[in-house]
Amino acid sequence: MRITFNMMANRALNNMTSTAERLMEAQDRVSSGKRIRKPSDDVNGTGRALSLRSTISEIEQYLRNSDMVKSQLEVTNGAMDSIVTSLERVKEIALLAANSTVPVEARASLTTELGEIMLSLAAAGNMQYGDRYIFGGSITDQAPIVTSGVTMPPYSYAGNDTQMSVQVAPWTNATCNVVGSAVFNMNGAAVPTSPDVFSTIQSLKEEIEAGNSTAVSARIADIDANLKNVITIRSEVGARASRLDNISESLLDSKTSLSTLLSETEDADLTQAVLELRTRENVYQAAVSVAGRILNITLADYIK
């Protein structure tokens, strides 16, 4: 083959250009740490990366949702604890008062205590998490337990029975509230056999004031029924919280493994990238030095 000077020059130039291009690619990979910098670097990888990124971002939101629900459930649990304690005290008072030998003064102090307990139960029912009334169903901007203005029932329920839920995992919803009507049996559905908590206490108070120990004994069944209802709901709340913990934990696990997968898809293997950079640097140097050497020589150099 006939070789001309321009052929050599062009070939050398092409080689230098293409090795320089490859060198720059390798440099980019090392300095950005990314294997995929644009979709055409790896079309399938890009698709996978987009989907992984989306899933990870979704999981992060689920985790935030879970945290939110968990804190609300914690506040709910605290309120339930105080409701249980109050009702247990009501039961003690009822047991005391059922004894016909209780003197009048002692009865008065018991009824006063019952009045206070009723106030503290109403306060627990109007417990807020942030600005939100947690026992009002979906009506969260006003107190759900309001004084009725009449003697019986002493309190009425201003909320609704809507259970609110948020997504805490793919296709998994968690209910974040407990409705006050169920806790205090104000819809009559929770404990059909008994009046609501406040009416029960109000009746007990009136019966103790009247010294009707028989009626007081009979009232204990209503108190028990309500207490049992509240305890059941409290344990449900606990169960919900621990289920959320499980869900969050498994979400965290999948987030970790998905992040690893994303990094494997998107990120450059640094050792390999640096090695590649080194190799390409050498190739480029070789190309340049060969070009420098060859392009200097023609026959003209040797003709006198």
């Binding site: 971002s57 939101q61 949702n65 979906s138 809507t162 609110m164």
Partner: protein
């Protein structure tokens, strides 16, 4: 035979060697001239003299020296056509590749700043609102994530549209470039006709014309007929572009799609563009970029109409029925959060019951759109990922083709260079050869002179 016969022979040799040396000089001078083909002085022995020498049947005739009968330009016809074929392919794929790389950089995918991430943030903000529907901050978050989603979609749309406009301009620029080249080719054709009749070999003009044809072939897929001399015909898309000294002109016109197209200057019919840069510009503009814009628009419309439909079934923080969340009927070019919602985020309808401040059913329903199959039985995310994959694979394809054709174009050019390029070594060798020939001829001259001297002075 005259006594001075030998001197004339030597003279012809001196002249021929000098002539050849001049050609060598011309070659060296043009070693780096683009499109230059090596020239060669062709030596031919002169016709022998008519005299008779010798006896009997054998008539010896003396040779009468040498002339340079032709300065031959190295022919590269086949390789030229190979280069032209690769050139138009190269032009087409380079044009596509450059545009697509631009599109890819507009996407910024995969990353935290692309539409994909903005979509994720948008759906997440609705879930966030679902966890605290009373909160003003969550509503503001929904509105701001929707604004940034709208901005990134509009931004991509605008950029794709302005890419199309740039390509329009490129097509128009190519038209004037083509016209200029075609005119010049026709004018050189004309000169070569005159040159030929004046017994003149227009080697360098032909070089120049071939170079122009080659430049033309990068812009447009052309066919070159004829022997490549003055009877050359160049056609594009089945119509004559150049014939001898005739050249057609191209004009630009608006096509039915509102995009620039090429038409013939004489009758206004469309130029059938089948290759070259112009084809690359047009394909990228009309099928690739336009396709991306359409997909983006479809995805956007799906988001807008679905979000609005669900939003309208809800109630805002003030207990009023939900209005439009995004500006109704907007597509990728004008998607924006409804002005009223933008002004007052309390108009975001999260609740399914009027006045229920803690009701999150609508917020959840809108967040769930993420998993709905809205575009071609795909979710919004899948559909957008499909668009990204399409752009990625188009860019990949164009860069692979571009590289391959550039490689093979270089190969063809190298092959041609091997045949027709100037080799300094070769020219140096020739230089020595012709110098020695000249010296030898001069020597003959001296010897002849001495011989004549012997005769004249000895008598």
């Amino acid at each position: 035979v005259s006594s001075f016969f030998g001197i004339n022979v030597a003279l012809s040799a001196l002249k021929a060697s000098q002539y050849a040396m001049d050609v060598t000089g011309h070659n060296i001078a043009n070693a780096n001239t683009e499109g230059y083909r090596r020239q060669e002085a062709v030596f031919t022995a002169n016709s022998p003299d008519a005299g008779t020498l010798g006896t009997g049947g054998t008539v010896a005739r003396l040779g009468t020296g040498v002339t340079v009968s032709e300065i031959r330009r190295t022919q590269t016809g086949f390789l030229d056509s190979q280069v032209r074929i690769e050139n138009q392919l190269c032009g087409m794929w380079t044009a596509k590749n450059e545009a697509l790389q631009q599109v890819e950089s507009l996407l910024s995918e995969p990353g935290d700043n692309g539409i994909s991430a903005a979509l994720d943030r948008f759906w997440n903000s609705w879930q966030n609102l679902a966890t605290s529907p009373e909160s003003a901050a969550s509503r503001t978050d929904v509105v701001s994530s929707a604004t940034s989603l709208s901005d990134s979609i509009r931004n991509l749309y605008e950029n794709l549209r302005s890419l199309q406009t740039d390509l329009d301009r490129n097509v128009a620029d190519s038209a004037s470039e083509i016209n200029a080249l075609v005119q010049e080719i026709a004018s050189i054709n004309n000169q070569t006709v005159v040159g030929r009749s004046g017994d003149y070999q227009p080697n360098d003009l032909i070089d120049k014309r071939d170079l122009l044809v080659e430049q033309l072939s990068r812009l447009l897929r052309i066919e070159v007929h004829g022997s490549g001399g003055s009877n050359m015909i160049i056609s594009a898309g089945g119509s004559v572009l150049v014939q001898g000294n005739y050249s057609a002109t191209m004009d630009v016109a608006l096509g039915s799609n509102g995009r620039t197209k090429l038409v013939w200057g004489d009758d206004g019919t469309d130029v059938a563009v089948t290759g070259g840069e112009v084809k690359g510009f047009m394909d990228t503009r009309d099928s690739l970029a336009e396709g991306y814009v359409q997909s983006l628009d479809r995805i956007t419309q799906a988001i807008v109409s679905r979000v609005n439909a669900i939003h309208a079934t809800g109630f805002d923080k003030n207990g009023n029925p939900g209005g439009d969340f995004f500006t109704a009927g907007s597509g990728a070019g004008n998607i924006s959060v409804d002005a009223a919602v933008l002004a007052s985020p309390s108009l975001v309808a999260a609740s399914s019951v009027a006045g229920d401040s803690g009701n999150n059913i609508i917020a959840n329903a809108i967040a769930d759109i993420r998993d709905e199959l809205l575009v071609d039985s795909q979710t919004i995310r899948e559909s957008y990922a499909g668009l990204v994959a399409k752009i990625g694979s188009d860019a990949r394809e164009s860069s692979v083709h571009n590289e391959a054709h550039e490689y093979s174009l270089n190969n063809r050019k190298t092959q041609r260079d091997s045949v027709a390029g100037v080799s300094i070594d070769e020219e140096m060798t020739n230089m020595i050869r012709f110098q020695q020939a000249y010296n030898a001829a001069a020597r003959i001259f001296t010897v002849m002179d001495e011989m004549l001297d012997t005769i004249i002075n000895s008598v």
